[in-house]
Subunit: 199 residues, 2 copies
DNA sequence: AAGCAATGTTAGTGCTTACTAACTTTAGCA
DNA sequence: TGCTAAAGTTAGTAAGCACTAACATTGCTT
């Protein structure tokens, strides 16, 4: 392994440690000393890789920005029935949220520090999902099985149910209050979204 | 006005200023100096009312805890049609969220600092709403117009749509991205919840 | 008018933080 | 073996933080 490879490895360790600590304690609560310790390097090494704490934070946000999560799913979905498609989308969406829970925690708690940056990320992630889902609805409305509701609002309603569930379960209380079972959440929410609640 | 009245007034000003600043900058980001300044008093006065910053924070959380928001609505609701009832609930719920947006911001970002305290508050507020709504569903299922879904999950789905909408709109971006119109949100979300999305 | 509770003013303490300087140690590669 | 990039070690700085001491001032109540 080259020397450059070692530096890149250290850099990665610092980004990982920073992500976890900041998501846990907030930007101000996570000290450079602790981040370095968690990464297993000297504090000075942190500053050799990132000239300030703020730059480290920016790099964390950048490097962990997630790629589109749903777009690649669309071809696959068009061959499914409506209900199965929605179940799949719910599954992937929740999965993505779980994968990125640290980043989401940061977004929710550090929004005030870097509003524009975090906004960009949010729009990359959630915004793209909204659009994809809304256009899927549009197709199914045009001569398809769906009634005439506003697709944008529908996408927000659907994803909002799951996002809120995720927030309560994972961000606010770590599993120890108001537990709902994940599998049942998917089917119940999807059924409500499809059939509504009246007989 | 008595002297005690003046002290109580100062105390209130400090609680108000603390709520706003902490909700904006976080617990660590809001300094006692700034809180006192915002309240229009000397920093020392803050410490004469609250012996430490942490105690000030606790008092803020305590004093702004909201009372049950939906329970009092139930008698009123039983005379309404299902759709009108759900619209009213949506309206009150969203209204309550707007009223308490500062506290909710704190809950979302400072959860990790005081998990048990904030958890209590959350359960007072949201938990009670869930229960109330779930039992309303139960009644309407028993020989009423509602089909047989799990009422707990239904309550979470319904309130989750609105909570998520509120979060995105008010907490994450202050109105400047992905705007949905509030009135339309209520009717679209309620209609989806009632009728679903298929024809 | 006098007393007293509440607040202001000024100056400070000790601690922690982000960040730096100067020098040493390690480990891969020519 | 010796060069070099990368990291370690130690010791520090300046600034900001929560919080305190000592004393002066305000204004309501009687």
């Amino acid at each position: 392994m080259k020397n450059g490879g070692k530096a890149a490895e250290t850099r990665k360790k610092l980004l990982d440690a920073g992500l976890k600590l900041i998501s846990k304690r907030g930007y101000l609560g996570a000290t450079t000393k602790d981040i370095a310790k968690k990464a297993g390097v000297a504090e000075l090494t942190l500053f050799r890789h990132f000239s300030s704490k703020e730059i480290l934070f920016r790099e964390i946000i950048n490097s962990y920005t997630f790629l589109p999560a749903l777009k690649g799913l669309m071809p696959e979905i068009k061959n499914l029935e409506y209900r199965d498609a929605m179940l799949l989308i719910a599954d992937r969406f929740l999965g993505r949220l779980y994968e990125r829970r640290d980043l989401i925690r940061i977004m929710q708690s550090q929004m005030h520090l870097y509003p524009s940056k975090v906004k960009d990320i949010y729009q990359n992630f959630i915004g793209e999902i909204y659009q994809t889902l809304a256009s899927y609805f549009r197709e199914l409305q045009d001569g398809g099985p769906l009634r005439d509701f506003d697709p944008e609002y529908g996408a927000r309603a659907f994803l909002g149910m799951f996002f809120s569930f995720f927030t309560v379960q994972e961000i606010m209380f770590r599993k120890d209050a108001m537990p709902l079972e994940e599998g049942k959440v998917k089917t119940e929410f999807v059924d409500i979204f499809i059939r509504g609640t009246v007989r």
